[in-house]
Assembly symmetry: C3
Homo-oligomer: 153 residues x 3
């Protein structure tokens, strides 16, 4: 069994950002020298997600608007009455008592999940034609890490 | 370490459908000849999900109604005011500018996730008494693939 | 390749409860005697979740309030009009026809997911500074199992 561990650090300029990392994941697999196995891609923070989806700007804008309605930020006006109702009943997240303002990012992380596993076949990521791996930053502007763990033979 | 890769293709008649695939996953494990390991079950499309849940028609109908409220289709009337509010503010998904009408299926995929990992113990899927593996089609009527990847010894 | 399988049984006093299990997962890795690999932590029931998040009571209370709005219980009054609208149109879950009252817990399980994979590096769980593994009970007071599966070398 071979393994390889690669860390990537992100410091996005914008608070929320989608960063395509498919090539980083493929490179880690190449460097591990495996032909069959799996690779885990996992955010090391709880205010970011990792997903596999289409690299289509419309989908990303749709998804962010949707996530802001379902898990509304309290650092700006909620986007309509449904978003307002989905904020905590007191109007702000309990998590913010400690001085944070990223309660919504924690909920977005739970909703989209913080990790994916990509199968490796013949040395390549075994993805469908439109599947790309993305790091989804929901609370950027600070240094955040992600781990890529390859296992196989 | 042994590995085995199996692809399954679905072409569901209905636009949305739940297909139980536990036996396909168990068969792949049997054919891999492993007794200890893991098996990844992962949709290769971004408008379908894979989940582990009860094979109970009531749960599936509940879940689909719920997903249609939280991630509403725009190819039919939204199911009430909350669903309408959760559509994009312009009334339709940006993703549809390219001619697609499956924006809701992308969001459902993010919400329920596109993959599960099942542990393998003594050659069997190590599932709880009510756990069944399902392929969840949210945009059917076209050919879609899924990968089953077994790793173990 | 080495593997180890550990089961944990929970019988929470309260209907909903968050139980930190990071130490159990680390202990299983130690007992497996691996330095490189992955560990799968997976609920064996479909009314519970497993997540990686901060061990901060505010986040847990925020998350539970939010989940009760998005996937509302029918065994108590819904928390506002949005929660009421997200119940099934008939007012109660179809799943309850069989005598159950945990339809909301099935939906919460789909939303937060029932499993995580933790990478293992140098014999330790390779988690970020605030990442803790939690078993999230959404329908407690009965005996529920979880499987921890370690694979590596």
């Amino acid at each position: 069994m071979r393994s390889r561990t690669v860390y990537r650090t992100f410091q996005t300029e914008r608070r929320r950002e989608f960063v395509r990392i498919t090539d980083d994941v493929q490179q880690a697999v190449r460097d591990a020298g495996i032909s069959e196995g799996m690779v885990l891609v996992s955010a090391m923070h709880i205010t970011a997600g990792v997903w596999v989806n289409d690299d289509e700007p419309g989908i990303q804008a749709d998804a962010l608007e949707w996530l802001d309605k379902l898990a509304p930020p309290s650092w700006r006006e909620p986007d309509g009455d449904v978003a307002r109702a989905l904020l905590p009943d007191g109007g702000d997240y309990r998590h913010h008592r400690g001085g944070e303002d990223n309660g919504d990012a924690h909920l977005k992380n739970l909703l989209v999940h913080h990790q994916v596993i990509v199968p490796v076949t013949d040395g390549l990521l075994d993805l469908g034609p439109w599947q790309q791996v993305f790091y989804c930053e929901f609370d950027g502007g600070r240094s955040k890490r992600l781990v890529i763990k390859v296992l196989g033979e």
